[in-house]
Symmetry: C2
Subunit: 235 residues, 2 copies
């Protein structure tokens, strides 16, 4: 079994310079699926075209994600390609909350795809519909190999890269993402900033209108993911 | 067999707007392998991290590539991450020639990896060594799923994206790449330019020092891939 082979020792982990993997380029995608009446969507960086004849894509998803379950059952995928105009709030809604607990379609624009999966259109550049042909077990994640069944443009915007998200929007990866461990390499010497341990949202005391973090109401929660104050760390 | 399922009709092809898939973001990588004394390397856009515990990557490669054969036999991969300083000539050397016919190590700097596979270092940002754990057949291509065994930085350069390659360096995809069909969407109304059908190199008559294409010597060949004049088309 290959799963046994991929367990590696602590020593092996230590020889990897994790920031090297930050040199791999990714885009930002909203991957959705629907099974019966249940829809969910999530933010993914690991979408790529895999063959051109026929046109297929691969999407790599953590098994813990609700969207993973829905794709496994329905074999249907919708992918919206984020633009540089996509807000941190929308990313937070889809990236740091589970579709098991919340209705992710509330408050966003979407169209119903030909494959009966909602396609989120708010601030997206284009979308892809696909049907799973095969799936490959790679331990914590599954590679879904899917045939592209429809593509269309939504707006003439610039696709968002992970680099842009990381440096401009200042987000971090959720715990289930393949790139999660990269977050450990992000360091900051800024004072007066507190980062949400769940979604990466940063509360900056020095921003106009903000009060001291210690003075925030005890019921205050992270505006992106709803984490309580206790889940924030000074950075 | 899933391979039968992925054959689609002409009608299906026609409903895909191919330029949509250009919205997917890729980086540029030099993927190499070595089996016994045979080395080859090629340019790939389809490298991504697939899990973080342990750290693994997936690399998607066309079965026609010599590098594919070498990876299949040796299970060893070296990946150099291209920078914006990587030249079109280097990309042409690795992207549009086969290691079956040429010694790709001539004229480039490289170090020998811990896994005994040469790692090209000329104008690269960083490199990754990996060992194949499993491989998945997806028709024209194979997905190699590999454990990262070593990573290191090479230089403080900016990683090259496919977008950068496409718009700044003005290259096109080789015929074996997953993104090959995207080239069909590139149009130009420029006069006096001739594009190599093999590698995408453009001969521009108006460039300083260039003569008319028709006046080029009959033995003149593409400076990047060696294609003869007959392989050029006016664009």
């Amino acid at each position: 079994m290959y799963l046994n082979d991929i367990i590696k020792s602590k020593e092996e982990v230590n020889i990897l310079k994790k920031n090297v993997l930050m040199n791999i380029t990714y885009g930002m995608y909203l991957v959705g699926s629907k099974y019966k009446n249940n829809y969910s969507g999530m933010i993914s960086t690991t979408v790529c075209q895999s063959t051109s004849e026929p046109e297929t894509i691969t999407v790599i998803i953590n098994k813990d994600n609700y969207t993973h379950d829905l794709i496994e059952k329905s074999k249907k995928i919708s992918i919206s390609i984020l633009s540089t105009e996509t807000t941190f709030e929308l990313i937070g809604k889809f990236g740091f909350n589970s579709g098991r607990d919340t209705d992710k379609l509330i408050g966003v624009n979407y169209i119903m795809g030909d494959n009966d999966v909602p396609v989120i259109t708010t601030s997206m550049t284009a979308y892809i519909e696909a049907k799973v042909i095969n799936s490959f077990d790679i331990g914590t994640h599954t590679i879904f190999f899917a045939k592209v069944t429809k593509t269309d443009n939504l707006d003439d915007k610039v696709p968002m890269t992970y680099e842009y998200y990381h440096t401009v929007i200042k987000g971090t990866s959720p715990k289930n993402a393949p790139t999660y461990s990269l977050n450990a390499t992000i360091e900051s010497n800024d004072d007066n900033k507190y980062k949400c341990s769940t979604c990466g949202y940063v509360y900056d005391e020095s921003s106009k209108g903000n009060i001291k973090f210690d003075k925030l109401h005890e019921n205050w929660v992270c505006p992106v993911c709803g984490m309580h104050k206790i889940g924030f760390n000074k950075i």
